[in-house]
Symmetry: C2
Amino acid sequence: MSAPVEKPKNDRLLRALARQPVDATPVWIMRQAGRYLPEYRETRARAGSFLKLCSTPELACEVTLQPLERFSLDAAILFSDILTIPNAMGLGLEFVEGEGPSFQRPVQTVRAIMDLGVPDPETELRYVMDAVLLIRKELDNRVPLIGFSGSPWTLASYMVEGQAPGHFRKVKGLMYGEPEALHHLLDILARSVAAYLEAQMKAGAQVLMIFDTWGGVLTTAAYEEFSLRYMHQILALLPTENRPPVILFSKGGGGWLESMAATGCDALGLDWSMDMGTARSLVGGQVALQGNLDPALLEAPDEVIRTEVGRVLASYGGGAGHIFNLGHGIQPWMKPEKMAVLVDAVHELSRQYHP
Amino acid sequence: MSAPVEKPKNDRLLRALARQPVDATPVWIMRQAGRYLPEYRETRARAGSFLKLCSTPELACEVTLQPLERFSLDAAILFSDILTIPNAMGLGLEFVEGEGPSFQRPVQTVRAIMDLGVPDPETELRYVMDAVLLIRKELDNRVPLIGFSGSPWTLASYMVEGQAPGHFRKVKGLMYGEPEALHHLLDILARSVAAYLEAQMKAGAQVLMIFDTWGGVLTTAAYEEFSLRYMHQILALLPTENRPPVILFSKGGGGWLESMAATGCDALGLDWSMDMGTARSLVGGQVALQGNLDPALLEAPDEVIRTEVGRVLASYGGGAGHIFNLGHGIQPWMKPEKMAVLVDAVHELSRQYHP
């Protein structure tokens, strides 16, 4: 038996990220390993808790691979939670059923911020690296594996609010009232995220994605100062040699694509509010683009899904650099059959753009 | 005693909407009559219910005028709810304390849509017109009065979801699955909103604003087809003679300003995600711009509020056509003193731009 080759057999995603020609547009879906799949719910039940599922490499590996068995997806994405870093920092992550994540010890004073340190990913987030190693082994180079982290701003929002932010009252209070303390927190987080992503890369992640879920709640000036600046810092901290391609995704960041592209990332994720074609005309010369079907379309009739997939593909147009995805994660109530309609439509309808 | 003159003594808002010179930038605040004011909470308690407060002209007038007693605001805005039209259509509007609005009879079948009619605002929404008449009388032309309505898409979202929409699952299901039925609903709503705004204008509203609170959840194509098109229809249906200036506000619509300006409206409201200066460079030659301070700033130290007010004013720059506002409504937990800091800062710091 030969040693596994480095390059995945299906390298559409890596080629598209490098803006090189492909035979069909690659597609993967945010939260493709998740609650809409009955086999996921079965594993989740067996794990006992969501945190146990995330922190047990064998179970995380199992659910990571599940969607690949059903759909001809062009990538796997590590199954994990974006709040692993704050949890490793000692905030006490909890998932109360039906209520989303919360922290037992949110960071709500300057003192609490000053007490935080950068976790060592190789030890304190060992379970994530073990999951990456195991997934790479089990994937056997069929498709590339995407590793990921939340952005510093997004992690800080959860850490300061103590739960999924609603009005961002506490974290914006800090931002406008004690900006130096927030900068200190964001700097620690940027260093933590960079170390975390580097460890994932060393464990075998072939693409890295930064989810800036809450960037869009900021003004342009605050986005640049409190979110983009720290994603830029992460990119600067990652090793330059053999660095995997990095995808930045600021939900609601359609107005800031040029400054996002200028960070030196390889691709930008787009939510569904902006036309692919408009985005491409702005930054298509610098980065690949990922997205951006409205996730609600997965409840539409099959022919409507196909029409709208075709519309996104046509909006991007011919040539390299497009990775198909939804504009946001797939919702738990979606039917798996619809995912198959989408994935197959992308591959079939995109061939005309890759002659 | 002389008859009241048509033109308000303070005509800064009307002049800015017409992009004519002013001595200082006019300012009013979305939800300026609301829960953050103790006198509002007192009147609300006296009314017994929110719906009673909206539907009793004397009480609606009382709360409309309250913020003008405290702050040197340049406009009054009719105190009402955006869901008056669906309520007049028979959906049974309810406000459960702490839960937001809901409908006893949401519109969830094509049949239910086909049964809807356009309410006669002069009779079925008489209480709103009586409030406008009374407010105009009590205002005695100190400042102009803004009337308003929800946009057809925003009203349809509430009517189909039955409550404040979360994932827009039902209304997007209709949009992608039975678009003709949704178009029928939106057409009825556009005609209803046009009649409602015309009645407000006849009763004395001097500016009209359309709140498209949920436009930003749509793709560009869907925004144009299901939201903008019907706001355009409203503008086409309003009388051309003596039509008051119309402000369109699609929250999250920063990417669509050019097509919004092309509807023939007089001004665009901006949320806080887009720079005033960028917006002005795109559409400042066609429309006035309203906004766009991050509402979270009202919890910041006074000097930060002043700095950020200055930043928005500087971003717009010199010359006519800016109306200062928040990028979204003021929240119930804000302190009234902060509102005074904001309003005074706008007037003081803007004079340099109006030499």
